[in-house]
């Protein structure tokens, strides 16, 4: 026998199920009067610094069908690369930017949409700079544990080429699955594929 380590096990994940929106975006499902507004519906509380962008996309299953019951959350730094979080020791973020968004997706198409800003660069633990990126977290019926990934920006080739994480991906042919593409009108498109030849690179972080 040896001494116990006294480390607890993380509570196991379970699927968010088909009704995640009742709990997380009740107003969108028609449950009004409990919360004034759905959390994460807006990432801006006033005028924000930096380049304002829209980030849109669709989550596809292994048959190529769009998920209409997913919930997508994003978390990102402000335009200066600072997170609006007490855990960021580097200073104060833009006070009018929350950094966090939540989308139930369009009722007909499932497409998510965020009105946000293009994030600045954030350091890796060893001090190298990461390319600008937005962290994604996807849950839905049939997804037993929430999926983490990142959207990088296709129009940041120099930063992407030296990103400590992108450069570590074994199959470099999969990098385009992590690139949000400019849509020509100030927005970016980032589709997520749960399976198939274009399966998005998902992260174990």
């Amino acid at each position: 026998m040896v001494q116990p380590l006294d480390i607890l096990k993380e509570t196991s994940s379970q699927t968010a199920g088909p009704y995640v929106h009742i709990g997380c975006t009740p107003n969108i499902t028609g449950i009004h009067g409990i919360y004034d507004a759905d959390l994460g519906a807006s990432m801006k509380t006033g005028p924000v610094k930096g380049q304002e962008i829209t980030l849109t996309g669709t989550v596809y299953d292994g048959m190529g069908a769009a998920l209409k019951d997913a919930m997508v959350e994003i978390w990102q730094a402000d335009a200066a690369g600072i997170y609006p979080s007490a855990q960021d020791p580097r200073g104060s973020a833009d006070p009018n930017f929350t950094g966090w968004g939540r989308s139930a997706g369009d009722m007909q198409t499932g497409a998510y949409r965020f009105e946000t800003v293009k994030p600045g660069r954030v350091p890796f633990p060893d001090g190298r700079m990461q390319a600008p990126h937005v962290t994604f977290w996807i849950v839905a019926r049939g997804i037993n544990i929430g999926l983490h990934t990142r959207a990088y920006f296709a129009d940041e080739p120099e930063a992407n080429a030296e990103d400590p994480i992108l450069t570590r991906i074994e199959h470099q042919s999969r990098i385009p699955t992590l690139l949000a593409e400019p849509d020509g009108s100030g927005g970016y498109r980032f589709d997520i594929h749960l399976q198939g030849p274009n399966e998005t690179v998902f992260f174990d972080i």
Binding site: I22, C24, I34
Partner: protein, 247 residues
Amino acid sequence: MSNADKARAGGYIPRDRGWHPAPFHPPYKTSVKRAPQAALLSFPSTLSEETGPVFGHTMLGPLDNDLILNFAAPGEAAIGPRIIVHGRVRDEAGRGVAGALLEVWQANAGGRYRHKKESYLAALDPNFGGCGRVITDADGRYEFRTVMPGPYPWPNGMNDWRPAHIHFSLFGAGFAQRLITQMYFEGDPLIAHCPIIGSISDPAAVGALVAPLDMARTVPMDARAYKFDITLRGRRQTAFENRPEGL
């Protein structure tokens, strides 16, 4: 967290994916085409995962943690057995997680969700919305009041029923801790039949999702109580930073 503490907080401890449910679990049919097939990309957590959105107690309404009343007409209440659900959110080192936002949702006492895609013929309760939220105190403790949800059938196998459950969504201090799970109730015979719970292979991990009846927290002549403690991921603690020897 003080600056001294920050200096000692390392990255997040990796997830034990064998303790979590298998993403691909054919008895849960929807998982078959929604489970990624490639290996996940592993790397040490960065500021992007060690930070996360902050939710303050001031955003909460007075009835946010009371599902019996938060959708009910004045003077009325949700139908069903009244229960209190309480517990503590802690990290893997056992430290309470203060300021954690918990969002919960559930079917009503008859097993019916308030959702237009819901097809179960059990009756809606006009006084039950089905969602609530609470933020943990300085110790990581939380409590909310609701009605016992009913089990419900779902289209998977020909005759599958979910055990009674409450869905939980949790935010810790870092986005790496983001978690959605479900709480089950002690003694529910449907737990052993559920293909969703069956995606978890370790019986101890299933047991950690089952809340015991807690007679000590029961309110006599009013509500029974169930205790559900939740563990979020923890960070490595170290006095030794990664740096080349000799510096």
